[in-house]
Symmetry: C2
Subunit: 211 residues, 2 copies
DNA sequence: ATAAGAAAATGACCATGGTCAATTTTTCTA
DNA sequence: TAGAAAAATTGACCATGGTCATTTTCTTAT
């Protein structure tokens, strides 16, 4: 690839990479799996925050350089793992009946909220990766956020909370208030209240104003 | 101090530290000022992101250890400098007449928004420090966020946007939507729209529902 | 003015994420 | 199947933030 692609411009290169569907070697898949498994193990034993590349690489039995051949940086692996967890919660939600009230909606969000605030480190990382840096490469977390908003939109359309604004705007608002409630959870000035107790009033005021 | 305080418990120690107002030496003030000035210079020449402790220490003419004797870590200095900028914008706003419409309110927020999104690094740092980790030590940025919400509350009370919910809730909502608009600014999927164009509809829907 | 004790400054050292030229393994082609 | 090309792996090395025992400077009591 190196020689061939030296002659191509960036655009063609990306095109080729995307189209050719380059059939990874078995070895590649195995090494990658070992790295991910090692990381998951470390996380299970301690925490997301405590994960060290050295430790992962040691357990996976690879050299450090191999780690970075598979993942752009440490955060990329974290994003992968955290994104997968987020996806699991979301699939659960997607398979569940649409909530019929603001209270039910708030309640439905709690498992997701609890995971996102399980560690300060996790929440910070999620925030940092919640926007796709480039349209071409939408990471797992940005992708998941997109799905979240789409699901909320479905909910909003099913229950007809407000008719003065579109479902998409309502949905984005739900998301904004969710993040706000999570952020204040880490603030010593506010954390007397639970996340649910903070999110509830926000969503009520947003989705059913005047009622 | 070391010997004396060895005998005191934690609480008394903090009490003493706070009450005694320990009269810093001239040297201390000067060194600290040199460090801050050096950091500001680096930032002015390149960016917040590009600031390196080594470089700051070199320009300030101190040893590296001195930096960390004055600031808990690199972020602490960044928080100080960014917090000061935020305060400047806020003072400007506080001295300005309260906006009388959602449009005017949105417009008033733009300078603050523009600074907060001037660098990805800046926005991430602000988010990370927007909550006070402990009630005893509210950092400059958490402090500033508190002032922001207080100012919004004043605005909301002055203009009577909604009467179905309290001024404080309305104010927190403004803040939540501001953050949301800023966050999407860094997302390639959304950034066709300007911050103003994203924030405007949010605030209209939040502050004047049904109108 | 001086000695003792507190505060400040120092820089060698460490922890950890990340790079890259060289090497090994796999795949492809004639 | 040989050998060339591509892909994967390696580990010494680097960049940068952060620590801490030691040294220097300052303050204070006598």
């Amino acid at each position: 690839m190196t020689l061939v692609n030296k002659k191509l411009d960036q655009g063609q290169f990306f095109l080729q990479k995307r189209i050719v569907a380059k059939a990874l070697q078995k070895r590649t898949i195995e090494t990658r799996a070992r790295l991910v498994a090692a990381a998951e193990a470390v996380i299970a034993e301690s925490s997301f925050e405590a994960m060290r590349v050295e430790e992962v690489v040691l357990r996976a039995g690879t050299a450090k350089g191999t780690f970075f051949a598979h993942f752009k940086d440490k955060d990329a692996l974290m994003e992968l793992i955290i994104g997968a967890r987020l996806d699991a919660y979301l699939e659960e939600l997607e398979a569940t009946p649409d909530p019929q009230s603001v209270e039910a909606l708030t309640e439905a969000l709690m498992p997701l909220c609890n995971f996102m605030t399980s560690e300060r480190y996790v929440f910070d990382l999620i925030l940092r990766y919640s926007g796709a840096a480039a349209v071409e490469v939408i990471g797992p977390i940005a992708m998941n956020f997109g799905r979240q908003v789409a699901l909320f939109e479905r909910w909003v359309m099913a229950t007809q909370f407000r008719d003065d604004i579109g479902a998409n705007l309502q949905s984005e608002g739900i998301h904004a208030f969710m993040i706000q409630a999570l952020a204040t959870h880490f603030c010593a000035l506010h954390n007397a209240q639970s996340i649910r107790d903070r999110l509830g009033p926000y969503l009520k005021a947003w989705l059913t104003p005047g009622r």
